[in-house]
């Protein structure tokens, strides 16, 4: 639990710290019409259509339609168990790896469906990377952790592996901390560094979309701030979807926010709008901490 979250301030105060994103916060009232992006706006990077995910008898995600705008940060919030992770995992076919998971509906990447049986999930995941809640470095050296993905990716010519490792580590703002200890084990790093190592690992594949499932929930405020800074930097070239339990975090780093409850997408809109004038009662209750 973040101590900050417990103060349950009025919703608008979340925005006080998350200096509003001018462009994103502009009045796109068309949003209120539905979950799709406003017509005439940039076409979405990814698009979920009537997505339903079941684990055997459990329906984890119910009929969710949601657009992921390109080169922006989309935050997903909602109470525990509401299906955020499940939704996120269906954006890069990671639910394929869960025995018993059944996905129906459709997900598009750049207008192309990624759900068909003829689609290779491996290729999808190379374009849509993922970072998990618990950092799990591979049992190899720091260098090898990233070099592994460089080799896995290997889709862009013959640039030197070492260069690409360095580039990814720099992108993840980790290079200066590890450049003298690349041979050490990845698990010898601190929790925050491990998480950035995992981000570097994901970036080394050069994905177009990065899915982050509560990447900071196990980290202290300083490490969290580092990751948030990183996200703000990365969103310039990357589409990011981030699941978070911290509303401050959503307010600080996202352009748009989606609120999930009990497997359904209740509401999605500009982060500013969501935190000041939410359309749905449930949303207001949740973000003001009045949720059961």
């Amino acid at each position: 639990m973040h101590p900050m979250e417990q103060s349950s301030p009025r919703a608008s105060t979340y925005l006080a710290e998350g200096a509003a994103h001018g462009e994103a916060a502009s009045k796109t009232s068309a949003d209120h019409a539905g979950n799709a992006l406003s017509p005439g706006g940039p076409s979405p990077k990814m698009r979920a259509r009537n997505l339903t995910v079941r684990y055997g008898p459990i329906v984890a995600v119910t009929d969710v339609s949601l657009d992921v705008p390109a080169r922006q940060v989309l935050a997903l919030i909602g109470p525990s168990g509401c299906g955020k992770s499940t939704f996120l995992r269906s954006l890069n076919r990671m639910n394929d790896t869960v025995p018993g998971a059944v996905v129906s509906g459709d997900v598009e990447l750049d207008g192309q469906s990624i759900c068909g049986t003829e689609i290779d999930p491996v290729l999808v995941r190379k374009r849509v990377g993922m970072v998990f809640q618990r950092a799990s470095p591979f049992p190899t050296s720091i260098f090898e952790n990233v070099a592994y993905t460089v080799r896995v990716a290997a889709h862009r010519g013959q640039r030197d592996v070492a260069d690409r490792v360095e580039h990814a580590l720099r992108q993840a703002e980790l290079w200066n901390e590890v450049k003298d200890r690349l041979k050490e084990s990845g698990t010898s790093l601190s929790g925050g560094q491990q998480q950035r190592l995992c981000i570097a690992r994901a970036l080394a594949v050069e994905p177009e979309v990065l899915l982050m499932d509560e990447p900071t929930s196990a980290l202290d405020p300083i490490a969290t701030a580092k990751i948030e800074e990183l996200v703000s930097e990365l969103r310039k070239g990357l589409t990011i979807v981030i699941v978070t339990h911290s509303m401050q975090q959503a307010a600080r780093i996202s352009h748009r926010t989606g609120f999930f409850n009990m497997g359904s997408l209740i509401e999605v809109g500009d982060t500013t709008t969501m935190f000041t004038r939410p359309r749905e009662h449930q949303t207001e209750d949740y973000i003001s901490g009045r949720f059961g």
Partner: protein, 334 residues
Amino acid sequence: MVADSGMVSVSAHGERSRSFRRRGPRALQGWTSGDALFRKVCTAFGLAIVALLALLLYELARGSSLSLSRFGFGFAFEKVWDPVAEKFGAATFIYGTMVTSVIALLVAVPLGVGIAIFLVEMAPPAVGNIIGFLVELLAAIPSIVYGLWGLFVLAPLVRDHVAPFLHATLGFLPFFSGESHGVGMLTAGLVLSIMVLPFIAAVSRDVLAAVPQPLREGSLALGATKWETIWGVVLPYGRTGIGGSVILALGRALGETMAVTMVIGNTPQIVLSLFEPGYTMSSVIANEYSEASGPLYLSSLTELGLLLFIATFAVNGTARALIWRMAHGPGGRA
């Protein structure tokens, strides 16, 4: 180890029962003394194992003292084994033991690790359970059965098909020169490989099953294929434990007697061709112990037993240590 922990807890318990008694006059001594007795008995059992091992080692050393003092270290390097002339050397038997064990591992390691990968990473749970059970069943088959199978099924197969094929394709190597008469080091090694397979497969399976799921997911989420994930993440994580399983299997292969004796041909010689018959340390002990005439003959056989004992003890100790480190240290890194 057993003895260690036993003694520690005994003394700890001793402290506890003393302070307990001090507290009140209404002694619950019946309980504590009964418990203490139970503990002492169990500790005695634990210590008995250590004593037994020590005694075994001592007896082997005592039994081989004659041979030790006569031949010294040269015993291990002397090729001649001539009971009539009372000249005894272990080199041919050590060679036979090593060659058959190496063949066994060369065949069984890839097969066993492959089975483990299949069971953990690919097979649906139901299939995995059945095959896992069958593999473990292999370990329960008496070695005389393996011996019979080796003699009547495998030996003709090696003679008519395996050996000619190897000779035709890899005949330029000294290991596959000449022709096979069925029994020989290759056949013995192959029988051994099937006998040690369950050890490698079962232990490796447990090792792979212990690899944390987030590591696999982390790799798959990067766009790695299943194969890349297994080769690049799962196996490196489990390498220490798998190494342990291999050494455990080696320990078993070194000491296996009955099946090997039946198919190796029992000819003390050092030749490179694996088609040739050979002789192992355990086989010669089994074959000649009952008819060993004269104290030096007996002593030399006992020394072979001593060498075998030390070798398997060291090998098994290493295996246990590796598997233990795998289970208790993250990733089992150095």
